[in-house]
Symmetry: C2
Subunit: 155 residues, 2 copies
C-alpha cells in the first residue's frame, strides 16, 4: 500500500501543527493515519462515544459550486460548497482522485462546524467526508442516494 491514498479531506487543523508525524503532513493534510494497509484491518481500541458526542458534530449535505487546484499543494483542491444558508470554502485532499471540473454540481457531506484552519495558506471552513478504499488506493466521496436541498442535516 502506498501512502498516496491519504484519505484526509478538507481540514480544520493548521498544517503548521500536524497532530502526528506523517509523510503527508507536508502537504497540509492531517497525518492521523499510518497506512492504508494497517487501517483496513484496524480495530479501534479507543473509547466508545456517546450519542451526545456524536450530536456535537454538525454534518450537512453540500453542493459543490466550484473546484480548483490549490495554488500551493499538489494533492489538494479548493472547493466552494453551498450549504444552503451559506457558501463555504473547503480544502480537500482529493486532487489525485477527482477531476476538479467534474465535481461541480455534485453533492458531498460536510463537517460544518469544525474550527476553520489554513491549509498551505488557504482557509478551509470545514471538511468533506470521504471513504478509503485501501485495496485500490482510492479516496471515494460520499453522497446521498438522491439529491437533497443543500444544507440538509445528516445524522
Amino acid at each position: 500500500m502506498k501512502s498516496s491514498d491519504d484519505p484526509t479531506v478538507g481540514g480544520a487543523k493548521s498544517s503548521e501543527d500536524p497532530p502526528a508525524a506523517s509523510p503527508r503532513a507536508s502537504d497540509g493534510v492531517r497525518g492521523h493515519r499510518s497506512s492504508a494497509a494497517s487501517e483496513a484491518s484496524e480495530q479501534r481500541t479507543g473509547p466508545r462515544i456517546s450519542i451526545e458526542a456524536f450530536r456535537a458534530l454538525e454534518l450537512r449535505v453540500g453542493t459543490i459550486r466550484a473546484a480548483e487546484p490549490h495554488p500551493n499543494a499538489d494533492r489538494l483542491l479548493v472547493l466552494r460548497v453551498d450549504l444552503g444558508s451559506e457558501e463555504r470554502q473547503i480544502v480537500a485532499g482529493i486532487r489525485a482522485h477527482y477531476d476538479a471540473a467534474a465535481l461541480v454540481g455534485r453533492q458531498v457531506v460536510v463537517v460544518a462546524n469544525l474550527e476553520p484552519a489554513r491549509l498551505r495558506g488557504v482557509e478551509s471552513q470545514g471538511m468533506v467526508l470521504a471513504a478509503t478504499d485501501s485495496e485500490r488506493d482510492r479516496v471515494v466521496l460520499l453522497h446521498p442516494d438522491e439529491p437533497v436541498p443543500p444544507g440538509g442535516v445528516v445524522r
Copy 2:
C-alpha cells in the same frame, strides 16, 4: 411539514431515556430534532468542534447483509451490517423510506463506535447516517461514490 420524516437512524440511546421531548420518542427513535421545517433553516449556535473531537468518531463504510422490520416499532428496520472485521446489528429509522429487501447489498455509512443501545427492545450496535430532505419529507441514506471494501474508514 410532517413529523413523520424523523431522520434519526440507528441508535445508541435507550428508548426509555430519550434526550429530548419528541413526538417520535415513543418509537424508540431519539428525539433530538424539532421539525423538518425548522431544521431546514436551522443555524447552529453551538460551539465549533476541534478536529480531535471529530476524530473521536469512528465512521466506516458497511454493507447491508440483511434488513427486516423491527418487531415492535413501525418506523424501524433492523439491519445486519458487514463492517469487514465484524457484523453489526443496527436499528435504523428508515422503514418509511426504504424497502427492506432492496437494502440488502447496499453500502451505508456507520457510526461504528457509539455506545450500544436498546431501541424498543432490540440492540443497536451503531447508527447509520442519512440526510434529511425536508422539502420532500424524505430520509436519504448516504453511500460512497463507488463500492469500497466493508470497514473502509470515512473521514
